[in-house]
């Protein structure tokens, strides 16, 4: 029974780790612009994050190494340091965007001033990370994030066009519409689904929870079902947006508009649950990114790290996450638009993807580390296919962003 319980918890955690402000922004914008036509991209992205997080979890359970250990071991100090700087920058942008997202959700719920709520959000996050054990952080935000299921109910109530929905699963180029904008959304949706902080956090989490080879089944279940459900929620957001915003020509550039997607079909209760779901999903992602930034630094430089240590036993790790959180609060306080920052963070993180995913694939293949748990044929085939996908999106992300004027056409 405790195994089932653990799987359930892990799945919840994976949902929290998957659906963040980047997924919300890109899926809703994609639905409002191209209807169901981009569902296939979400599907590809979800399988990609499953393939690579399963590898990361396996490396953590068997080799006892997290992603940035692998990056430094395989890429060396110089290239590894480059990867560290790039990933810390995009990770920080994502963190600031998530903190802004929390404040927006709180403002829509309470009506209090935005800047005061940014401060409140940062203080609450700091207290939670300081006080709560790792497992509880995952649980609180995972459960809360389930409120997003309200969008799946909303999608059904809107009686989607199932023919168009089915067609959306088939990769295709649209007959009409701006192809550069379509390309921008392809890259953005893949980037949002495979954001690197997810694997930094997932792999370090495996070590926090002291996974052993016996936990590999748990790892597989968590990654497949958890990220699968995250993808399900993303597609629900896209459907709601396609039904409500596309026909009206609405550009859902605020989180308030996103929440309307649950209010119109389901009323006040829908709106409340949607905002609560956004609050917890984005809050969980803020903690994930904040800790991921500190995990990466500590692993690269060899410092002691982990929430399973007392804060003073992993002091530089503790200082790192605290400083990242304070800086993120300051950046978002300065008045930068959180949704805009999210788009930049997702697109730039796509550029940093190969430096994260190539070392994972190499280490998961290493027989010395992994013994009989090294990648099998399925993991390697998928890993290589996704490496091609990742290289393609990382090379095209910035050109698409510039040529499509960030999806504005």
């Amino acid at each position: 029974v405790s195994k089932i319980f653990q799987v359930a918890l892990g799945i919840l955690a994976a949902i929290g780790g998957f659906v963040d402000i980047g997924d919300i922004v890109f899926n809703v914008a994609a639905g409002a612009t191209f209807g169901y036509q981009l569902i296939w991209v979400v599907a590809i992205g979800v399988v990609g994050i499953i393939v690579y997080s399963e590898m990361c979890g396996r490396v953590a359970a068997v080799g006892k190494r997290a992603v940035f250990d692998a990056i430094r071991e395989r890429m060396g100090f110089g290239v590894g340091l480059g990867a560290l700087i790039a990933s810390e920058i995009v990770n920080f942008m994502t963190l600031a965007a998530e903190v802004g997202g929390i404040a927006i959700a709180l403002q829509l719920l309470s009506g209090l001033p935005y800047r005061a709520l940014i401060l409140l959000a940062a203080v609450v996050l700091a207290v939670v990370v300081w006080v709560a054990p790792f497992e509880w952080i995952e649980r609180i935000f995972g459960y809360g994030g389930l409120c997003l299921l309200v969008f799946a109910v909303g999608a059904l109530k809107l009686h989607p066009n199932w023919g168009g929905f089915g067609h959306g699963w088939v990769p295709h180029v649209p007959d009409s519409g701006n192809l550069l904008v379509y390309g921008y959304f392809v890259v953005g949706l893949l980037g949002a689904a495979m954001t690197p902080y997810e694997v930094y956090f997932y792999s370090s989490g495996g070590i926090e929870e002291r996974w052993q080879p016996a936990d590999l089944g748990l790892n597989r279940a968590n990654s497949i079902i958890g990220y699968g459900l995250g993808g399900f929620l993303s597609i629900a957001l896209m459907i709601v947006s396609a039904e409500l915003f596309l026909p009206e020509g609405v550009d859902p550039s605020t989180l308030g508009t996103v929440a309307l997607g649950a209010e119109i079909p389901l009323g006040q209760a829908g709106l409340f649950l949607a905002l609560l779901g956004i609050l917890f999903a984005v809050g969980g992602a803020a903690i994930d990114t904040c800790l991921a930034g500190a995990y990466n630094l500590a692993q690269f430089f060899g410092w002691e790290w982990g929430k399973y240590r007392r804060p003073a036993q992993a002091p530089r790790f503790t200082i790192s996450w605290a400083v990242l959180l304070v800086l993120a609060m300051a950046v978002i306080m300065s008045g930068i638009d959180a949704v805009m920052l999210t788009e930049f963070a997702v697109i730039f993180s796509v550029v940093a993807l190969p430096l994260t995913y190539i070392p994972i694939l190499l280490v998961a293949n290493d027989k010395i580390y992994m013994g009989r748990y090294a990648n099998g044929r399925l993991a390697n085939t998928l890993g290589l296919v996704y490496l091609v996908v990742i290289l393609f999106v990382s090379l095209t992300a910035i050109p698409f962003m510039i040529l499509s004027h960030m999806g504005q056409g």
Binding site: K64, E73, A312, R316, I319, Y369
Partner: protein, 112 residues
């Protein structure tokens, strides 16, 4: 070990002391043996001064990080797994000083 094995198996790996404390990464290796001899690793080098030989970013980081380096004699290595396990504590070998200094600050916060 061949040179490739040394690089893959030791360089840039995590160092863990005999109490399970993480206390740095292998930043460089001290290797002895002339041409024709079998090279022998005599020590592990840890700290910013050892980054100088690690590419231009390493040189820059070394300058910013100050000139400190700790030499851990190979005798102090108990086992090489995915990490390098030592037979002594970090403080006996002069490792983990950065964390020790930072701990003095963090300890002042309640609940640390």
């Amino acid at each position: 070990m061949s040179e490739l094995d040394l690089v893959l198996g030791l360089l840039d790996h995590q160092i863990v002391d005999c109490e399970g404390r993480r206390c740095g990464n292998v930043d460089d290796l001290e290797i002895e043996g002339g041409p024709g001899d079998t090279p022998v690793v005599t020590a592990i080098l840890v700290g910013p001064a050892a980054w100088r030989e690690r590419g231009w970013l390493g040189r820059l980081a070394s300058r910013l990080g100050g000139g400190k380096m700790v030499r851990v004699p190979w005798d102090a290595v108990a086992e090489v797994k995915s990490g390098i396990e030592l037979s002594k504590t970090a403080s006996e070998l002069g490792l983990g000083k950065g964390d020790d200094r930072a701990a003095q600050w963090v300890e002042k916060v309640p609940g640390a």
